[in-house]
Subunit: 336 residues, 2 copies
Amino acid sequence: MFEPVTIKDIAKALGLSTSTVSRALRDTYEISPATKKLVTDYAKQIGYKPNPIALSLKERRSKSIGVVVSEVANSYFSQAIDGIESIAYDKGYHVIISQTHESYEREVINVNHLASRSVDGLLVSLSSQTSDISHLKSLHDKGLPIVFFDRVADEIVTHKVIADNEKGAYDATSYLINSGYKKIAHLTSSSYLSISIERLSGYKKALAYHGIPFREDYVKYCPHGGMLYEETETAIKELMALEDKPDAIFVAGDRLSTGCLSVFKNLHIAVPNDMAIAGFSNSDVLDLFNPSLTSVRQPAYEIGRLATEMLLKIIEAKYPIEEFEKKILDTNLYIR
Amino acid sequence: MFEPVTIKDIAKALGLSTSTVSRALRDTYEISPATKKLVTDYAKQIGYKPNPIALSLKERRSKSIGVVVSEVANSYFSQAIDGIESIAYDKGYHVIISQTHESYEREVINVNHLASRSVDGLLVSLSSQTSDISHLKSLHDKGLPIVFFDRVADEIVTHKVIADNEKGAYDATSYLINSGYKKIAHLTSSSYLSISIERLSGYKKALAYHGIPFREDYVKYCPHGGMLYEETETAIKELMALEDKPDAIFVAGDRLSTGCLSVFKNLHIAVPNDMAIAGFSNSDVLDLFNPSLTSVRQPAYEIGRLATEMLLKIIEAKYPIEEFEKKILDTNLYIR
DNA sequence: TAAATCTATGCAATCGTTCCCGACAACGTT
DNA sequence: AACGTTGTCGGGAACGATTGCATAGATTTA
């Protein structure tokens, strides 16, 4: 089958020892220029490529990082992944992507899978159904570098990169208020997710700033984050069944925003006439939507880049890192 | 840092040799039941996990497969990836995804990257800018198992899985014709891509069947497959500038379809009144589009599953495979 | 009773690479 | 002349796991 050429082949062919060949290829000072040239020329000629598996075994690292996201089909995550790859490939790291599809079980499986596969570190955005993070905590305690982005876990002390969710939510809600809506509901994913908490907070602040009282029954949770159409539909039907039903909704997620639009379309509720919507979304075909969607856009690509830079900094650190930071990037409101 | 427990640790702790421990864990017949129990119990207790890197070195395989697609943000590919993962994880294989972003250079880099990282096989959908496939041919000749899906290369003799592109194109074009349009243009990606050729053929057959003459100037190519807005815009402007300009377009790609809609929106051309569109797309938010898009949907998930099954069959074959097949799956036309 | 067989285990090679030592020239220094 | 330096290179252990072969003792067979 596939017989790759090794350092041993070169040594034999040139009548040298493997140590000498290895050193020549790594350009060590103790090898004479003549031998070096001999070896490198021959290596190039027969197409020698160092075996990364052997390297990994020796160096006790795999030069690969694992990424845990809910799903790559989500625009936010696919953009973040582009950012992650741009840094990782630059530094010679492989990126192994795994999807949780918002399921806690799959998250546990994937995380352990990646860890056992000896990734050098993990970039994690929690699934919407994850409240217990002991699977990550135990790995982190054992020394596996982890950096969170987007959906973070405060219980684990490490670097985190997020968008300014509170400000984004504040902007979106304020936009609805300034457009004349007073009865603004809030549709979000699971309550324990960091992004949910932050966005709820921004929503509340906007209401408070404009003197609108907060109503608990105006907030609906979808633990599956828009993955289940029925869940989203139920939440919206409940809102519409309220005595004093809302005239606008601030939606706190990408998948949830599109899901929400689908539900209104199916229920024949006119947007924005009967119901105005503003939501978080990084989709780049939003312009084509009808009804259109005013959206908060996160710098996903940049978040991916930053998170990866921070992770590689931990991985390649000679001494254990003591100081960790949480980077918060600005969001943009696109009015449509 | 992170000190994983090895077979050696177990051996030392139990006063056995590493061979005995290894055999006990692998449940070999020559080990006494007592020793076996002793070892497995202790292994579980201290949380022993075999080191996959060492295994890879020994067994000369990595239990991972590489996937090469243009981009994960594309609905078709993200669905195909879900299918790929469903099979791969089941069989204990890791999936390493890499994106070409339709660039030939990145494809070459990624393919070599994956190969040097010793993946056991490759699932490839060619980038739209790839016409020379020697980078894949040489690896395939050396014995690396490759299965193509979606965008295939006929020069390489191996398994292939595709949708029935010709039939899908025929259906979409026929739909436009049956809707009363007579002057139907065709917007597609690069001319050498297998899907382009197949879809062009279906388009031609539909025209011929309905007695409409084929016009060369009604076919426009976008080698970047919709990645460059300007390219798509130019193509459409050229069509609109024709003396006898078309009244409908059959678009041959996912990204191209949405790109096309954007262009029309920006050019203030009403769809479908001024221009009707039918195209290939696997997006699941198409219902929200305005103008809406009649689309050909491919069984992407199933294509991913099939391609993976075939790849694993090659990888795990004891004897070289002689017979290869090209599986063609049916498409569905969704009229909107 | 001696030889043959069986049982349970250890030794050592292997995968590809790196790197600590040690060897041994050819110098230069007292 | 004896010793230290420097420049080049090879031997071999190590990384973690598997496995063919050897071997100890126990058991069965002739």
